[in-house]
Assembly symmetry: C2
Homo-oligomer: 544 residues x 2
């Protein structure tokens, strides 16, 4: 398929929202030696300057990433630029990039995704050793899933940018004569887009904004999280190579690394030349970003995700599914549940009632069982990205007199991995600690007065603190309808009765909207039409 056919296929997928992928998620779908080569490339990179990035005018090099698996520094550094330098480069490259046709931009961007595809395994190891994700998740999230999300942005952008006939002869009959006016309709790119990455999903959460900006003609500066630079550096280096191969400025997309002790994010964000900001990260900084005047802002902040447990057929299957959702990457996914609402009267099952305490125990047992399973535990939990997350979880556990349960089954490959088994803490609805986001491997099981209160609390929390997902287990049709309507009205999507291989955490490109944009968890969506349309302006000129 040529570029145009690939784009059209992706546009169709966006409309039908059925399963679609352009980059298979199974590592075995790639060359037999790809994994070994990727590992080798990653290992060769350790303790070396990162090569291949545009570095003209750079002012030294920086980098301070630490592997959550090995708990040692990666020793990789990247070209460092002043904010002025970054802005000047972006202004310069924007002036040429914006004048390239949409079809050509799409072709170039597809080619850059294909170049990234050749790096999927190296990307996987880079992601593992910056985020703490397991190998399989690292491969999928930073490789094929991120590329699919990027393709989604390109396809939607292409669709929107070409939605109007661009040259029109407008003829109005005025009675005795025809008034003829020629018109053109042009999507004008807004300028320079800053994309601020997070530490846990350094490419998956970054590339949608990057490619959405690029397809509409904006130049991009990526400010990665200082602890997760390598994955997106690999992506940007590939993109810069492709731009150069077309004789274009490499600085159409730039990497802007910084270090924790000397952050440059605010300087970039507040710069008047920066017109657009994409942000993934904590709510407090996200609210600051949203408050900046005269910027077009796309945020994914934190939410507090609810799980409503009302009635189930097979409690074991449900507890297993919940355990996996809470354990996957140690609860460090923005889509992981934090609070499980259970009525004080317990839940109905096919084999009679389970009390609240039995539910708590059942979930605890499932999590422990998963964590201790040598074939599953280490590869589900991954490692804790940030030491602060581990400490916070331990403090909450201590405050609640829940003893910190260590992971019996350490990761045989990485005995130093930063790990903690997800904590299960039973609390009363009147308690307050579950009402705030507690990022990391922590589940509150909230005892409510009734299933009605469970729903009310989930709704209130979605409205006040935001939620990216909601999960509900119920065999009662009426209750299910009410949960759907109530949560949807708080702009929270609901996943019902997930068992087996369906997990609330996973949002698929071309089908699932990631973050609705309607509640405090974020103001934007991967990927609705606003995600591209807000990045440019339609201007129509008229010619007598």
């Amino acid at each position: 398929m040529n570029a145009q056919e690939r784009i059209q296929e992706a546009i169709k997928a966006l409309q039908t929202r059925k399963f679609y992928t352009a980059y298979p998620e199974n590592p075995r779908a790639y060359a037999e030696d790809a994994n070994a080569k990727g590992l080798e490339a990653f290992q060769k990179q350790l303790n070396e300057p990162f090569p291949g990035l545009y570095d003209e005018g750079c002012e030294g090099r920086i980098g301070e990433e630490v592997s959550p698996y090995m708990q040692v520094g990666l020793g990789v550094d990247y070209p460092k630029f002043s904010v002025d330098n970054l802005i000047n480069n972006a202004t310069h490259s924007h002036n040429s990039w914006k004048n390239i046709s949409v079809a050509k931009r799409a072709e170039i961007l597809l080619e850059s995704l294909d170049a990234v595809k050749e790096k999927f395994f190296e990307l996987a190891y880079a992601t593992m050793h910056t985020t703490g994700q397991s190998f399989v998740m690292s491969f999928q999230a930073s490789g094929p899933h991120a590329n699919d999300r990027a393709l989604e942005s390109i396809a939607l952008g292409y669709h929107e940018l070409t939605r109007y006939d661009s040259n029109v002869e407008w003829v109005k009959n005025m009675g005795k004569f025809d008034l003829k006016i020629n018109k053109n309709f042009k999507p004008i790119s807004k300028g320079i887009g800053l994309v601020i990455g997070c530490s846990t999903f350094p490419t998956w959460n970054t590339v949608p904004g990057v490619f959405a900006n690029l397809i509409v003609g904006n130049a991009v500066i990526v400010k990665p999280h200082p602890k997760s630079i390598l994955p997106i550096a690999i992506v940007i280096a590939e993109m810069q190579k492709v731009f150069a191969s077309y004789g274009l400025a490499q600085t159409i997309v730039q990497l802007a690394p910084d270090v924790i002790s000397n952050p440059i994010t605010k300087d970039l964000a507040e710069n008047s030349a920066v017109q657009l900001i994409d942000y993934t990260g904590g709510s407090q900084f996200g609210e600051y970003i949203e408050s900046l005047p005269n910027k077009t802002v796309f945020t994914e902040k934190a939410g507090v995700n609810s799980l409503i447990l009302q009635s189930v057929n097979d409690p074991k299957a449900v507890f297993g599914n919940i355990a996996f959702s809470a354990s996957l990457y140690s609860g460090q996914m923005c889509t992981a549940p934090q609070n499980i609402f259970v009525s004080k009267d317990g839940i109905k099952t096919a084999d009679g009632n389970l009390t609240y305490d039995e539910v708590v125990a059942g979930i605890q047992v499932s999590i422990k069982g998963l964590a201790d399973n040598p074939k599953m535990g280490p590869y589900t939990l991954g490692a804790i990205q940030n030491d602060l997350t581990k400490k916070r979880v331990e403090t909450v556990a201590k405050d609640n007199s829940v003893s910190t349960v260590t992971v019996d089954q350490v990761n045989p490959e990485f005995p130093e991995a930063r790990m903690v088994i997800p904590m299960v803490i039973g609390v009363d609805a009147s308690d307050s600690q579950w009402k705030e986001e507690c990022f990391g491997p922590l589940l509150f099981i909230v005892k409510t007065d009734s299933h009605e209160q469970s729903l009310n609390l989930a709704e209130e929390l979605g409205k006040s603190k935001g939620a990216i997902t909601c999960s509900c287990y119920t065999t009662n049709e009426d209750y299910q309808s009410r949960v759907e309507e109530t949560m949807n009205n708080a702009f929270v999507p609901v996943s019902f009765n997930f068992t087996g291989a369906a997990f609330v955490n996973q949002h698929a490109a071309f089908s699932d909207f990631h973050v609705t944009g309607g509640n405090p968890s974020g103001n934007a969506t991967f990927t609705d039409s606003l995600f591209v349309n807000r990045r440019f302006v339609w201007v129509g000129n008229r010619f007598a």
Copy 2:
């Protein structure tokens, strides 16, 4: 054609952007006795309570409109509601309206536009005697053109709300088995939309936001300008009748009148139940509206529109076109030019050069000629809506030692009409008064150092103060390209070399984007896809 076919035809028109209208603009296209009946209805309404609006729970009646043609009060009053009452009604009606299917909502809204069509002539007289527009402009702007703009919102909304398949079976092959998840995708309306009208175009600028809100399922409160209530009251009464005929709450759209001495706009705008605000009016209040936290805001504020005069073939035709654009509704259109940039070296014409002074004189003569033409003058100028506008223009003229030129040809039908001939004031580029919006019949002819400076000043003004239109006359292809690119990059559309029946002031539904949304003249566009998509949120639910 049924509703569905009419919507599909309008959607197609939006894409092709060729001439399209669903409601003919020629008064003669309507019934022979329609004009007489409309006039009679308007005259009967004078000094009477306005009937037909929902008034349950109203707290008295108010109204203080004054005819700019007769300079006497209309004596019409409208049911007055407390803010709490309006919000309660809207909350109640939103709950039912949002659950009606998109197709049904579209059908009901089309029917309400058809009901409004029956009132076009009454609307015309109501618009004349609140805004000061001429009869023909009143008829066209408040009648067919407003209805076309409303239909545009309905059609675009319908298109966007139905763009995804709403129920999907998502099947992912997992190797040994298929993972099947049923998904639905629902556009969830944001809630209550407040639409704040202006005094000069009480329906044309109001109905796009009203119908865009309604098609997505929001309830609407219209807060008209206290001096221009009657036209939109007529529209809302028709809509309420149609809602009632479907057994729906009339309060899906409500009129919220107030008086200058006791405004309720801020109370409504700041109410937490109001999720969306559409605003047309001055920049200062518009900036306050834009600054309100947690609101989805669509503004059309003031701009300072530029006209660049570089070179022309036929100066008489050009000056005539400019004179008409500046005189139409006495310069009270948001699309009227304010500043004409002319190089100190004058302009090239087919018959040699014209000096700057000759350009000023030529435009002055054309304006005077138009104003004094008994068949054209009164019907082009209309009347000045607000006494403050007349006083401001007279003050500026006096400050510039330009004697106020009275209109020789008074309006024979309305000898008391508030009129002033458009002032032409020659100023130097170094002067500052032309850099601010001077609303009303006032043209600054700015003497610049060069055609380059003319363009630079127009660009700067567009970026700093905003501009809704730009007009340029040039016979030089290179200059034309630079004007197009430069102004477009400031998100200002340009109309080139308009003469004859083409006027920069006029923006056609289904073709011209009104306000780009990219410069300080406003943050929204009639009608791009953002105009409807920002009013609702996509939510996708998943079912195992």
